[in-house]
Amino acid sequence: MKKLMNKPDQFVTEMLEGILAAHPDELQSVGNDLHCLVAVGMDAARRKVAIVTGGGSGHLPLFLGFVGPGLLDGVAVGNVFASPSARQIAQVTSAVDRGHGVLFLYGNYSGDVINFGMASEMADVSGIRTVHVTGNDDAASSVKGEEDKRRGVAGIYFAYKAAGAAADEGLDLEGVARVTRKAVDRTRTVGVALSPCIIPEVGRPGFTIGDNEMELGMGIHGEKGISRTALKTADETVDAMLDIILTDMPIPGGSTVSVLVNGLGATPREELYILYRRVHKILVGKGITLRRVRIGEFATSMEMSGASVSVILLDEELSHYLDCAASSPLFPCP
């Protein structure tokens, strides 16, 4: 877990400088604060709800990689695994508001919830209406019935996509929030971690895990999962993940879903496809149709090794929004 970096306390600043240098046509900072990023070329006259996200660093392409055409309008970037400040969120909010309200869409972590809450009040003072939707897809992070306590992980991707498309099509703030909430409500994720990662300023792993162990249900900051077991095969791992997902959100045969197999950082793409192979076999075996499958790194934990599987149960409306075009420099075209 060696890092290619300069000073640990400059990790986020230099990363943001690199991002702005690399993608000046797509992303820009506002208010002289590198942590406050918005899409380039906003048409302020357009009748469109704006969408703002935010969260800690260390999860690229999350969160800032979801700002772009067909997606979100702005992002407030925190330090590694730490919330951005309410002021930063409010600043991004002011920069992207077109007068039709702003959707706050972020992961369900208390630091973020509280800072977005405070930012809402600040926005209120400036006359900007905000509505909150929080991603809470991690089915392993709290029991059924306590969904509001669950963490948001890779599955927020589907909510971003649906929200961005709904806003693009001109839905009003309530409409965009409704679609986004539906996407969140119909998404479940379970992750598995095989090795820890190191916060640059801390310098040592956040947890330890034996050479032949894995943790099922672990969060993307190394939060405690459901069980620590001997390293399973890829197929057994998927079976355990899907078991949790499908128990929590039963999916009847004949349904259509989209699936995201997400790498946490060090796990190679080859292995994600080996995992997907099993996901496909099991879901198809249940008479479920898969579409718009996504495999790659969408929400990482720096150099952590492991993966997550997210499933969203689609209806026609969500299928439509997921299909809409979107782009981001953090998802480079070949």
Binding site: S85, S142, G206
Partner: protein, 215 residues
């Protein structure tokens, strides 16, 4: 005694010293039930406030001073506790008397505004093992001390002692919010880090009064 603007600065200096002394304890409490950053965020947050208050161009008005201090802390340490404590400070500033010093009654209004602001912001309720489980007992102790004629120093003394006792009681509670929530039953037996931080902050304030009244 009532508090003037410069006394408020003195109180914050004392709070800052208190969390600096207790940094490792907060860190280890949060490492047990969370991510271990609480010592750092409290120390850095109060340090930023003190730096801000010491500036030549810091507001002359106590209300403004407190509000801007709160925003400074929020900007510096946007963690859960950083933001909630900042929220409390901002609310206290908003509730500060327009003119004149802060007496025990004004202090109660400010403290109540702070606690209510934190409760609204956090959406947590009493008994859910959060900083509120130190704040509510302290607020009630202040109110009781005031009703029996205590001055602001006596109110603070009562509030701080109540907070200390309350922290011990949080050990019996189940964590349902924040990073501690995943520990479920395993959280029982351990005091809440956020409540501990509140008690530590109030102890700093109490010590300032002790020094100022006696010294």
């Amino acid at each position: 005694m009532d508090l003037c603007r410069n006394d408020v600065i003195g109180v914050f200096d004392a709070m800052s010293r208190s969390v600096t002394t207790g940094k490792d304890l907060l860190t280890s409490l949060d490492a047990d039930l969370g991510d271990g950053d609480l010592g750092l965020t409290m120390v850095n947050g109060f340090y930023a406030i003190c730096q801000f208050m010491a500036r030549d161009d810091a507001p002359a008005d106590t209300a403004q001073l407190l509000m801007q201090a709160g925003f400074t802390m929020a900007e510096t340490v946007p963690s859960t506790m950083g933001t909630l404590v900042s929220t409390g400070i901002i609310r206290a500033g908003k509730a500060a008397p327009v003119r004149g010093d802060i007496d025990a009654a004004a202090g109660l209004e400010m403290f109540r505004a702070a606690v209510e602001g934190i409760a609204v912001r956090s959406k947590a309720k009493r008994g859910e093992k959060t900083l509120l489980d130190a704040l509510y007992p302290a607020l009630e102790a202040w109110e009781a001390a005031l009703s029996t004629g205590g001055d602001i120093a006596a109110c603070m003394d009562a509030a701080s002692r109540a907070a200390d006792l309350a922290v011990v009681a949080t050990a019996g509670l189940l964590s349902v919010h924040g990073k501690a929530a995943v520990f479920g039953d395993q959280s029982i037996g351990k005091p809440d880090p956020g409540a501990s931080a509140i008690a530590m902050i109030m102890r700093g304030a109490r010590e300032w009064f002790l020094r100022s009244v006696t010294g």
